[in-house]
Every structure is written in C-alpha cells, then in structure tokens.
Subunit: 235 residues, 2 copies
C-alpha cells in the first residue's frame, strides 16, 4: 500500500484562487468587445487563440494577455483602438499584481501536516509569476522544493520524483485538475487526491474519473486532507 | 585552488544567439514607429517600459512583447493602429519560433568536455521558451540538469549548488553576462569564465571587471575553454 512521506501540492486553485481572477478579467474583456460580438463568440475565439498559441506561449498570464490582444484585433477586424488594447494590457498587469488569496483551510492544513510530511510545490505557468505568488502567499517556508514546469505530464512528474529521490509509493499529489494533477501521477504508481475547484478551465477538462482503488481520492475541501491521510496510514 | 568538476553554462548568447535576434526585431519595431519618433527615443522609452514592468513580467520574449505594445501606444499617443499592433505581436511570435543557432564551437566544445565534466544549464527567461530552445539546440542530452530561474543572483546560484550537492570549489560558471553569470558566482567562492558576446543588453551592463585571481577568467571564444580548464588543472 502507498505510504505518504512527501506531498506534492498544485498551486493555482488548490492553494490559492486563480480561475476566479481569470473569470473576472474575462468578464471585463467580454464587456470591452460587447459592441462587436456576443459573449459566447468571444469565449470561443479566445480559447481557440490560446490553444493555437500554447506551444509558443506556454501557460500563464503573459501568454493569456498576448492571446487576448490578438483575439480582440481579429474579432474587431482591426477596428479596436489602441486605448482599448491598453485596457487589455492593464487587465493582464492587474492579474499579475493581484493579491494572493488562499483557499479556505489551506494555511491551517499545511501547518498541521508539515510536522509529519515533506511538501513539494508543483505548478505550471510563468516562472516569475508563480514565484511571486508563492512569496506573497506566506507559505514558502513550508516547501522543501518548488517546481515550475512547462507541462504537468507523466515525464515531468517522473523527473521531479527522481530529482528529489522520492519513490512513487511514498508520494501523494494534491490538486484540482484531473488532467494535470491526478492522471499523470496515478500512471506513475503514486497516489493522488483530487480537490475540485468550483471553476475548471476548459483545457483541463477530463471526461471520467480514474479507477485506481487505494490510490485515488476525492475531497470536497483541503480541510479533509489530514483525516484522509490519517485513515490511510491506519489501513 | 578551485577544481572544475561541474560546469554551469548560461544559455542565451553563450550557447546560442539571442541578442542578435532581439536586435533585429527592435530594428523592425523602430521602423514601425519611425514616422512618430527617432530611434533613440524609441530605444530609451522601450527600455524604461521594460524596466518598469520587470518585476511583473520577469525576463523573456512574452514580457518584451507586452512592453513593446505598451511603449508603441504611449509613443503614438494612442494613434497606432490595431494592424500595427498585430505586427508587434507577430514579431514576438517570430522570436519564439526562431530557429536556435549555436555559437561557433559550442557543439564541439561541449562534446569534448562532457567526458570529464558534468554540465548544468542555468538560465533566466520564459520557462517554456528556454526549454523549447534547449530541445531545438540538440544539446539537451549533455546536461545533467536544467535550471530556469527568475533572477540569476547569488541566492539563486547558492540554491542550485545546494540542490545538486555541488561545492563552490568544484564549480565553474561560463557565460556572457558579468552581472548575471560572473559576479554572483565569484561571490560564492566558485570560479567563473566570461565569454563576451558582441552585443550586451543594457540591463546586463557592468562598469568594471571583477578582481578574483585564479577564479575569474575571460575568453574570446568558448573554443578556448578546454585549454583553459586543462591549464588550470595542471597548476
């Protein structure tokens, strides 16, 4: 049976709010384009631009901002003004400067678990932005290591476990994305705890739940994590 | 005396060309704004915007592109057209998709030195872009580790040496920037080899050469590195 020595935590929407900030910005972005197109068209076109640019831009706010500007020019056939584009630049800067708001229970749970477990932060996105959010979160001292990767796939997790000499059988990953935090970790034989966030980015959507008895868990809140780990250790 | 077991290599303008690509893009950017301002004004304003945004954007092409758009809107008092902004977006995408061109001698020198030394790549910038350049470079298999950091300062180098269990006395850093590749490494007691590139970004400029006999070296070309290390080992 898997034993939990090291816990990997996802960052965005697992430790602190992120999609709600994106959603609020996209609301204002849609308002800016409302005289040209309905919300559904703006959403669909922006998502298509983001996916087309993903290989070039990677994840994160800067790539999102660039794709937002490109989409606005496309959707207005070049009629959008420079001042409106400046507003989009400012939306991006607001996201980067946004205060870090921890999810309910995160600070207490990390403090409680840190006595008996080592933590690794594993996230994707802009390196400088993720490091800045961790610094602002007040959680940095809990983490033995911080790994910002370009893509959270099986190879990336395997490299992280190898680098930190963590056996899959002693690793639990905690995150809100089945695609990025759960499936690749289960494929390596490690355990994974899914704590859904109330909003999921389309790109992270997965059809069905994984089947990995004893290694896959779902919680309503990170507050339930200490109990899960205690019960698991007593099995 | 310092002994060279592990070599840290900077990436941009040490292993492959980078500033020349930035310079060519800035040339086209200045041409785009030429009917509004002279080249000197464009350069100065763009650099000021980049520095103002550095804490939010970090290093790399995406932040540069966002700052270029912001500067263009400022310098034209909002008169720049959406199609011209699209051209700036495309310049950024061209930079990200640009082929990786190794500096003269890099492939041979890395192959020659890899028998007796371990290599770590240490670079700043966009994580996804740096990883993509390394993959395109054909050099990835030479490196025991790849470290993309938000800032190349003393703390970042200390963390890397600690993580990889490298003593300062057995580490040589090779790079083109006195500020990012040489000074912080010398401050840790490790050795550093400066191989200047023919263009230096203003932000990396340093007034005077460091004074660290036996630990600081300057070469004209990376081709001279094997001889330097051989001579050094025989001292």
């Amino acid at each position: 049976m898997n034993h939990c020595r090291v816990i990997g935590f996802d960052a965005d929407d697992t430790l602190w709010h992120n999609e709600t900030i994106f959603a609020a910005v996209q609301e204002r972005y849609r308002a800016l384009l409302a005289r040209y197109h309905d919300a559904e068209t703006v959403n669909r076109t922006l998502f298509a631009t983001e996916m087309r640019n993903l290989e070039l831009y990677g994840y994160g706010v800067k790539g999102f901002t660039l794709s937002s500007i490109e989409t606005a020019i496309d959707l207005t056939r070049g009629e959008i003004s420079a001042d409106e584009i400046r507003t989009i630049l400012q939306l991006g800067q607001e996201m980067l400067a946004h205060p870090v708001e921890l999810l309910d229970g995160v600070a207490e749970v990390l403090t409680a678990l840190s006595a008996a477990h080592e933590f690794v932060l594993i996230t994707k996105g802009d390196l400088s932005h993720q490091q800045s959010k961790l610094a602002k979160s007040g959680l940095a001292s809990h983490f033995r290591a911080v790994e910002v990767v370009a893509e959270k796939d099986e190879a990336a997790y395997a490299a992280i476990l190898l680098r930190h000499r963590i056996a899959p059988g002693e690793f639990f990953m905690v995150g809100n994305s089945l695609k990025s935090d759960i499936l690749p970790v289960l494929a390596l034989g490690a355990a994974a705890v899914h704590v859904p966030y109330h909003v999921t980015w389309s790109h992270e959507h997965v059809e069905s739940l994984p089947d990995a008895p004893g290694r896959f868990f779902q919680l309503q809140s990170i507050r339930e994590l200490p109990t899960l780990l205690r019960d698991h250790a007593q099995l």
